[in-house]
């Protein structure tokens, strides 16, 4: 893989960031689950996909875009705190990338799926951990939220990540990836 920000990485980060913003503002990225946190979300999936496809740097940037947009659009005081809304989101793509790299020699599909799960759990655990530290939630409430919305989020994340990345990987080597300069074949 090339080092630094290539044209490919810049564009992919921008485009996936756009999806994160879009799913947030149209509220299509939220699954209504009746818990203290309001909703389960799938907004972290672009960060997971970006991390797997283009490395931890891209994952972190998409996480930042997701964090800032969730901070600006938040309807609950919890996410109007930048320490809860933005900081934990930076690590979604990073853990997903590390998991993927660690497992990809075992089996591509397993690696993508587990990375989707780990990325999603990173979001759940770090955000709720921060919420407890900042005093918005009691630890018991946070644990319930982690189960009632964290697990469905992780399952959806695995399905979408697998579908998208597996399709894209196939595109990547067989010529649908148009550019011949910045491809990482």
């Amino acid at each position: 893989m090339e080092k630094g920000l290539t044209v490919r990485r810049i564009v992919i980060a921008g485009v996936l960031g756009a999806i994160a913003i879009l799913l947030g503002v149209t509220r299509l990225g939220y699954i209504p689950v009746p818990t203290a946190a309001g909703n389960a979300t799938i907004l972290h999936i672009p960060a997971v996909i970006g991390g797997i496809m283009e490395g931890w740097g891209v994952g972190m940037i998409i996480g930042l875009i997701f964090g800032v947009s969730s901070f600006l659009n938040a309807t609950v005081p919890l996410f109007k705190d930048p320490l809860v809304a933005i900081l934990p989101r930076l690590f979604i793509g990073v853990t997903a990338y590390l998991t993927y790299v660690g497992l990809k020699n075992v089996n591509q599909y397993v690696a993508i799926g587990v990375a989707g799960f780990v990325g999603s759990m990173t979001n759940t655990l770090l955000v709720l951990g921060m919420a407890v530290i900042r005093g918005y939630m009691a630890a018991g409430v946070a644990a319930t939220v982690a189960i009632t919305s964290g697990l469905p989020e992780a399952i959806v994340s695995v399905i979408v990540t697998l579908a998208v990345v597996a399709a894209w990987k196939k595109l990547g080597t067989s010529g649908k990836q148009k550019s011949k300069i910045s491809g990482d074949l």
Partner: protein
Amino acid sequence: MSAEFELTRNITIGQYLPTGSIIHRLDPRFKLAAFVILILAIAVCNTYIGNIFAIIMCVWLFQISKIPIHYGISGINPAIPFIIILAILQLLFYGGIANGGAVYFEYGFIKITSESIRLVLVSAMRFVEVIFLSSVLTLSTSTTELTHGMERLLGPLEKIKFPVHAFALIITIAIRFVPTFAMEMEKMMKAQASRGADFGTGEWWRIVQRTKDMFPIIIPLFNVALARAEDLILAMEARCYIPGAARTRFAHYKAAGKDYVAIVLSVVISAVMLGIPW
């Protein structure tokens, strides 16, 4: 029914209200810096008077930026039920954890202390303040100005090899593509609905069903997005775009007296907020 498909209508990104006030005319670099200072102060401040003072300052900002305050209030309205539910939960369950403060009420595991009441009131006020502040910022600054301001503010990070220009470009691409993808998504939802798919008509407690309904939209959306990304990559490389190469700038900003005043004012306001002891 058809209203469910009009995604573009909900998108308020880049909503800009040109009233030409002094806030609008501030240098975006300085405006953004002042905004960040105030947000940080709000995030840290947990006193009653400090937060009341911050709310008064936010209302004053609406006044001098000549933006009708209902723009800010409309951001709060949809959140009121969430605020109330969260406040009740915090009130009931947080008392056992917050150390110190007088205990007002205790029954079983429910314990209401002066600290838990403070937490509820302060987080509600904080919420209002952040909504007001970010409304003033986005309504008085165009997205182009915002990205330019951000790029300049992060400029010093270039010294430690942080790719500031690329970062600003990523943000620009992201904002540029939101309406495009909204239209694509609308098209896909209509295409799926014409084949008999249901969106948002299932009962809310059937969570699994509602989640499954999303897959035929979300997965094609990612594929369309990645296909568009391929086109854009090809177009940029065909025009010899090199990341990190030296570039000249189209927009030049020059700081004036009012910009320095804005920064000093925001520091003073933050200091007052954090300095008030109760």
